[in-house]
């Protein structure tokens, strides 16, 4: 090839820039991990920048002693488990009938669902509705108003249509098997990959969301972890920057400094453990969705 030198130069820069991009993403993440094990003084003076300095686990101890964080963690765990359970069941309940060609009216029902992706009442009318339903500050407000996502119904319906053989369902029907039994005994066992995708999609969504809780929860005992994180990491810092800081405040700042990094780690622990699965299944689910959409 006549352009081989220019191709080699191109290849070198390609690898070089990709490595820089990867580093730019990795370093902040790595810094947080390293800082969470370090003595806070070294972080404030800038002596810790690569390896943990003054290694200790005090920050983690403080995280687990902090009642708000522990309580938030438990709340988030509850919202995520129940929420995801409701999400997945509702998604199956909608996606299976819609996947059946002999289900009359499926286009109309699909249109009813898809319409809501483009038009909504907006924040205030939705808030007023939920207030009128008496759901403010209840457990249910965290799991019911977001019970199902249209996009995920589409993904699951596409999966049912393309991967579950129709003949299998038809022969079961001839054998006198009812629709619900076909769904439970034949379709669902064959759909585990897409169910895994759904569980992950919804669970990550619940784990990371704060907006819903911000609007519909006011009782601190119900706060999910993300709202507690917001108070510690963002509100606390912003208040500090705006108010003039006093001597005692500085001391207090020093004590929470290390905790901030540790709480970042703790709050993302489930995600870190699940990341290999997340990556694999998320990309897969994303693909099924985008091909159809």
């Amino acid at each position: 090839m006549q352009n081989s030198t220019s191709d080699k130069v191109f290849s070198f820069f390609n690898y070089f820039f990709l490595a820089i991009i990867a580093l730019l993403i990795l370093y902040p993440l790595y810094f947080v991990v390293s800082a969470s094990f370090s003595n806070p003084t070294y972080i404030l003076t800038g002596e810790m920048w690569l390896w943990p300095k003054g290694f200790n686990l005090d920050a983690y101890k403080k995280v687990f002693e902090n009642e708000d964080i522990v309580n938030g963690f438990i709340n988030t765990l509850k919202y995520t488990t129940f929420g995801t359970l409701i999400n997945v069941i509702m998604t199956i309940m909608a996606a299976y009938p819609l996947s059946r060609k002999d289900f009359y009216g499926r286009n109309v029902i699909m249109a009813i669902f898809v319409f809501t992706m483009f038009f909504g009442g907006g924040l205030i009318p939705t808030y007023l509705l939920i207030r009128d339903l008496g759901m403010i500050d209840t457990f249910w407000v965290m799991v019911i108003p977001n019970a199902v996502a249209v996009w995920n119904i589409i993904i699951m319906r596409t999966f049912f249509q393309t991967t579950i053989p129709l003949e299998l369902q038809e022969s079961a029907q001839i054998d006198g098997c009812g629709n619900i039994r076909i769904l439970i005994n034949i379709v669902l066992p064959l759909s585990m990959p897409v169910i895994a995708v759904m569980v992950l999609f919804y669970a990550v969504g619940h784990w990371n969301s704060y907006f819903h809780a911000l609007i519909y929860l006011s009782d601190k005992d119900n706060f999910p972890l993300q709202l507690v994180l917001r108070e510690i990491l963002i509100k606390g810092e912003m208040d500090e920057m705006i108010k003039a800081t006093s001597e005692s405040f500085l001391k207090q700042q020093l004590s929470v400094e290390g905790l901030k990094y540790a709480v970042l780690i703790v709050s993302n622990l489930p995600m870190m453990i699940l990341y290999p699965f997340l990556q694999k299944y998320f990309v897969k689910g994303f693909m099924i969705g985008s091909i159809k959409g």
């Binding site: 730019l24 902040p28 509702m90 309940m93 009938p97 619900i180 990491l233 963002i234 912003m238 990341y275």
Partner: protein
């Protein structure tokens, strides 16, 4: 002769109307048949339909309070109509132009930076032959997608505050620390580049997928003709993913006025308000915090209408120029 022809047509007309009747009749019988056979499927989907009606269609009914003075004790229906009062108040208010400027500013800035970068990354990753390196880079750059907005903004503050890592580096090189978080001038840049940091990897997936569909024989032919890799990217790969780029551009450009609430709200503070106040945070403040329900519904409705018009317009132009569109 004529009579026969007339007769003939009348028979035809008759046939057509009969067919029509048959169609509507068969619609009914189809529904009845399907319902008898699949009644359990209808039962299965009923709760989901009920959910959509309650949580997505009932709020549509509540939009009317944008044209009313909502009084809680009277309810939505019995509150008095006031016409365009709330819209006029919004258009005349001191905030109006600031909100438009910020919302549009953040939207366009994001579109200009966040949109092209994933395309470049996908093109670069596609050229990597070492599969281990490729896998490593992908694993790293997808990771921030799974972090919550609170975590990303929290990290941003930890790194950029007055005694954070970045300012330590600045002072190390003899500069003076910058108040990134409270300085209005920095807000949009921080917003956009932290967004790039979080989403560039994930957004590149769709282009990578489109690139796998490129016909390899085209590349071979180009190589025989002596095309360099850059030339092959420019003349083969980019045209191949152009439809994907256009569709995603339409979607992104259409939502240029719908800057998300979540991140802006977290990055906002009383000092950078002049640059960070956008329509969605304004709706939250005036609606949820100050309980001006009718007014903030009107502001939100105004925003949705603008968004919809934008989407339709961008789609129209894309159709004219590129013959690719959403509908």
């Amino acid at each position: 002769m004529e009579k026969i022809i007339q007769n003939d047509t009348s028979i035809q007309v008759d046939n057509i109307s009969k067919k029509k009747a048959n169609v509507s009749l068969s619609k009914w019988t189809n529904l009845k048949k399907s319902f008898r056979k699949n009644w359990d499927l209808y039962l299965l989907i009923t709760p989901v339909i009920a959910y959509f009606i309650i949580f997505h269609y009932l709020p549509l009914y509540g939009i009317q309070i944008a044209f009313k003075d909502f009084i809680a004790t009277k309810g939505i229906w019995d509150s008095p109509w006031v016409g365009m009062k709330h819209f006029e108040r919004f258009f005349d208010s001191y905030y109006f132009w600031r909100l438009i400027k910020n919302t549009l500013g953040i939207g366009i800035y994001t579109l200009a930076i966040s949109f092209p970068i994933p395309i470049i990354i996908a093109l670069m990753l596609n050229e990597v032959r070492n599969s281990k390196f490729k896998k490593f880079v992908q694993t790293v750059i997808y990771a921030p997608h799974f972090l919550s907005t609170v975590v990303v903004v929290g990290m941003l503050i930890l790194f950029l505050k007055s005694d954070g890592l970045i300012n330590q580096v600045i002072t190390l090189f003899g500069g003076t620390p910058i108040d990134f978080i409270t300085e209005p001038g920095w807000f949009k840049t921080l917003y956009v580049f932290s967004d790039v940091w979080q989403t560039m990897g994930w957004s590149s997936i769709i282009y990578l997928a489109a690139l796998t569909a490129v016909d390899h024989s085209q590349h071979e032919a180009a190589m025989i003709d002596g095309a360099s890799r850059l030339q092959r990217i420019w003349y083969i790969n980019i045209p191949a993913i152009m439809p994907t780029i256009v569709i995603l551009f339409i979607l992104n450009a259409g939502s240029v006025m719908s800057v998300g609430f979540e991140k802006v709200f977290l990055m906002q503070n009383s000092l950078n308000m002049s640059a960070s106040d956008v329509i969605s945070t304004f709706v939250y403040r005036s609606g949820i915090l100050e309980a001006q329900y009718s007014f903030s519904t009107a502001v939100g409705l105004f925003n949705s209408i603008i968004n919809f018009i934008m989407l339709v317009m961008v789609n129209y132009f894309a159709k004219k120029i590129n013959k690719t569109s959403l509908w």
